[in-house]
Symmetry: C2
């Protein structure tokens, strides 16, 4: 079991409490290599760094755990791992997180944590993005660690059909308040922003992006947000084909296009 | 027809040739408001700016065309439009592009142009991302303008089932070489990076991200990459539910989860 190689990244930065928590869990399953952002990269989605160079710094090496910091995005960190640092090594599992804050519903699109998890799935191994519904930088990850361990055990021991990318969200609360794990679909919803306008000392306006999430559907029992609201850990299997097959035929009519 | 309001953004910046080309086309269909990035934002995906403030600058106002530059990402520009500048105005169409370079296949995930197009679709109007398969900053957009006009006409005149977000890619070449428009699915493929390593004057390594795209499947006739390779304009309808429904049942078994 200890022959396994587990790669870990996140979007909150290499020294966040969330990534330290999941490193603690993962090192029980194998050798751990971490490449994570130097600085906070929340909201970086699937962004890559094309117009400035990347740097990589060894933070620490101890028995079974190597930690590097990279000045790029979470997706850059994954590419740096598979196409440079771990080139030609077999990686058994990619973990992204544990994120400080929810990545359920449409948040999966904006999330740097989930961008990295999705990118990891392009390299032929199972990937899991973990998020705790608590933004506090000193959040309690005890319950999360329990479920990370349980889900990692299942994925490493299960008959996994690749590509496999999981979006796992964990409610805030004591272990005994959580009812279990539920496989869900992504809840429909969207954000609306309220820009907070301020003025700089020269009288120029500037704006802080701040928003509110709206559910777009009744909170159906098969959605991640229902599961989380009802104290289940939600697990959404993610795919990267964005084609809306249901619209292809009507679109051919609208565009008078070739079939 | 001139009562229509069309919002335009991109990821190459407010003064790129691609956005100027599509503004030329769009102003024939209605009033145009542009909010586009101050600087190149290629590869910014669905990223948002959470930890620094946004600025907005009026670049020009002429008959029927207002252009603003924003220091954020393409998705920030869309949010700035709908939740601030155009708040409570009915927008009839969102256009992102014309991108300098392809956004077919998996590029849709990394693309700032398509990130903005997807974000636009959350605001209840049809959205189209246009890309030309030519990275040259002085690329010839004549053929692209023809197809932009044709597709905008179809979408504005068609019976569109919202949400509607289209990923349109246009081959490089003279108008008469293009065979028509084809509705497609996203081709399967992935990027592998070759990091170019250099040293700074203090002897520290730094890395440029540079990669190569691999098709993951035979170039099937229903894919966007087949269409483009065969000189068709490809149109892929995009959806934002990333749930892989085909894996939900096997995942329940692996995780021994609640049904």
């Amino acid at each position: 079991m200890k022959d396994r190689l587990i790669f870990i990244t996140n979007d909150d930065g290499f020294d966040s409490l969330g990534i330290k928590s999941v490193i603690d869990v993962a090192k029980e399953f194998g050798r751990v290599v971490v490449i994570a952002p130097e600085t906070m990269q929340s909201g970086q989605s699937h962004a890559i760094t094309m117009f400035s160079p990347l740097s990589l710094r060894c933070v620490s090496k101890s028995e079974g755990v190597e930690i590097y910091a990279c000045n790029g995005t979470p997706v850059d960190c994954v590419k740096m791992a598979f196409d440079h640092v771990l080139l030609d090594q077999k990686v058994d599992l990619v973990i992204s997180g544990i994120n400080h804050g929810s990545n359920s519903a449409i948040n999966v699109l904006y999330s740097g944590t989930m961008g990295a998890a999705i990118e990891g799935s392009f390299y032929g191994c199972p990937t899991i993005g973990f998020s705790l519904l608590d933004h506090d930088e000193n959040a309690d990850f005890t319950t999360s660690k329990h479920y990370c361990s349980e889900i990692i055990t299942s994925v490493l021991g299960g008959d996994v059909d690749l590509p496999m990318c999981l979006n796992v969200n964990i409610p805030k609360g004591e272990l005994e308040t959580i009812k279990g794990v539920k496989v869900c679909r992504q809840c429909k919803g969207f954000w609306r922003e309220r820009f907070v306008c301020r003025q700089d000392p020269r009288g120029q306006d500037y704006f802080w992006l701040t928003g509110e999430f709206f559910n777009e559907e009744p909170l159906a029992e098969d959605t991640d947000n229902w599961a989380l609201y009802n104290n289940y850990v939600s697990v959404v299997p993610i795919k990267v084909d964005l084609t809306d097959y249901s619209k292809m035929s009507s679109l051919q009519n609208i565009l008078h296009s070739e079939k």
